[in-house]
């Protein structure tokens, strides 16, 4: 249902991050082990490869009220399953355009390649994305707070 919602001061977004087991999740682990500080708005879902992430999963996350969805995979050429991330980038590109066309702020969906050695970069990506989603405000599909 479309709801007009005032973006309240102190709004904390809920972000779902789909992270691939080999690279992005390793990067997140490294950020944790290195005691790097980053906002706690993200819930991570570990998948074996970003190619296993169907547009269905992303759409369901938004339907359930996620304010932002982050997809973290391996760099092109470094996929543990060789070409999984080739599919991911195609799917996310199409989904983003579709979301834009139907009026959903497509910036709520973000794709990045984060390797398992990039702990500092992982924290930075989360920081930046959380800030961006905060600025966008609560998702129109949210029914609970």
């Amino acid at each position: 249902m479309a709801k007009e919602v005032e973006s309240a001061a102190g709004f904390e977004p809920k972000i779902i991050a789909f992270l691939c087991n080999w690279c992005s999740y390793g990067g997140a682990d490294l950020a944790g082990v290195s005691r790097l500080q980053y906002p706690a708005n993200t819930r991570t879902i570990r998948v074996m490869c970003t190619a296993t992430i169907s547009p269905h999963h992303i759409l369901k996350a938004f339907q359930k009220g996620a304010d932002g969805v982050l997809v973290g995979g391996c760099h092109i050429g470094d996929c543990h399953y060789i070409k999984g991330n080739y599919m991911t980038i195609k799917r996310v590109a199409i989904l983003k355009e579709l979301l834009r066309f139907t009026g959903f702020q497509e910036d709520r969906l973000y794709l990045d390649w984060i390797s398992s050695a990039e702990g500092v970069r992982f924290a930075e990506v989360i920081r930046n994305f959380t800030q961006k989603v905060k600025e966008l405000g609560p998702s129109h599909l949210r029914t609970t707070y």
């Binding site: 092109i76 991330n85 599919m87 590109a93 199409i94 355009e97 579709l98 009026g103």
Partner: protein, 269 residues
């Protein structure tokens, strides 16, 4: 009409085909019908008009039940695109399908905003120029983000989950449909997940939609689903330079792994 009837009769009598999926005038209404050597006497009731049916879907059903038959089918420009794709998806046998083409009228091409309202060769009709700019899409592109959101959420709210769009789509051949997955689209509530139901159908139409428009005609709630799928076709053309059914070689972008042609900067604009 007579030309089509004569051609079908010839194909049947020469045993090029065992059956022809066409339209028959029955009680004043055209309906899909399989003409065969057994019912040649009914050939005068074969009609060709502006009326449209998913004949490819009927063809698939018959071909699956009687795989040894060679079948002819009446095709418009869009149906031929559908046949080309179905052959690439291994749903039909190339040697067992004989398409007989008809070209669409100017009025039909305009209302469909079809980019190619004629097949590769046709028995009835005259070639008309296709349309490249869609007014339907321009109307949506002209709205700002908030307007668009309101428009689409209101449209999807009308959905009664009849699955008409999926049932009539000539390109939907999955035996198990994800729109019927209980964990994805919950049962017992209307409207179905707004907007997930329609957005996921739109994603399924990537590299598959032939722009026949039957989905929108079938919708009892008049939801402009065709506009959504037209946009999908535009996205696929822009990002992957691929048009459904244009070539009999090469798989659609989400069906083929291929090489990567996109950068992150193309995605996170």
């Amino acid at each position: 009409m007579k030309t089509m009837q004569a051609r079908v009769r010839k194909l049947l009598e020469e045993k090029t085909i065992d059956g022809f999926i066409g339209l028959k005038m029955e009680h004043g209404h055209p309906a899909p019908f399989m003409f065969s050597r057994e019912n040649l006497g009914e050939m005068e009731t074969l009609v060709v008009g502006d009326v449209r049916y998913p004949l490819n879907k009927v063809l698939l059903k018959v071909a699956n039940q009687y795989p040894e038959l060679t079948l002819g089918v009446m095709v418009r420009g869009c149906d031929e695109r559908g046949l080309t794709e179905l052959l690439k998806w291994n749903q039909l046998h190339r040697d067992r399908v004989v398409p007989v083409g008809i070209a669409c009228t100017r009025e039909l091409a305009d209302s469909c905003e079809c980019y190619k309202p004629y097949p590769s060769d046709w028995v009835v009709g005259e070639k008309t120029e296709g349309i490249t700019k869609s007014k339907r899409l321009q109307k949506i592109e002209g709205m700002d983000q908030k307007e668009r959101l309101g428009y689409w959420l209101n449209q999807f709210n009308k959905c009664i989950k009849c699955y008409g769009c999926r049932d009539i789509c000539p390109m939907c051949f999955c035996e198990v449909c994800s729109l019927e997955d209980r964990n994805f689209i919950l049962t017992g509530k209307l409207p179905p997940e707004n907007p997930t139901f329609h957005l996921s159908r739109a994603v399924h139409m990537v590299g598959r939609c032939i722009d026949c428009g039957l989905c929108e005609e079938a919708c009892p709630s008049d939801i402009p689903v065709r506009t959504l799928y037209k946009k999908i076709n535009e996205i696929v053309k822009e990002y992957f330079d691929y048009r459904t059914g244009e070539s009999s070689e090469g798989k659609s972008p989400l069906n083929l792994l291929g090489e990567v042609t996109l950068e992150l900067s193309d995605v996170n604009k």
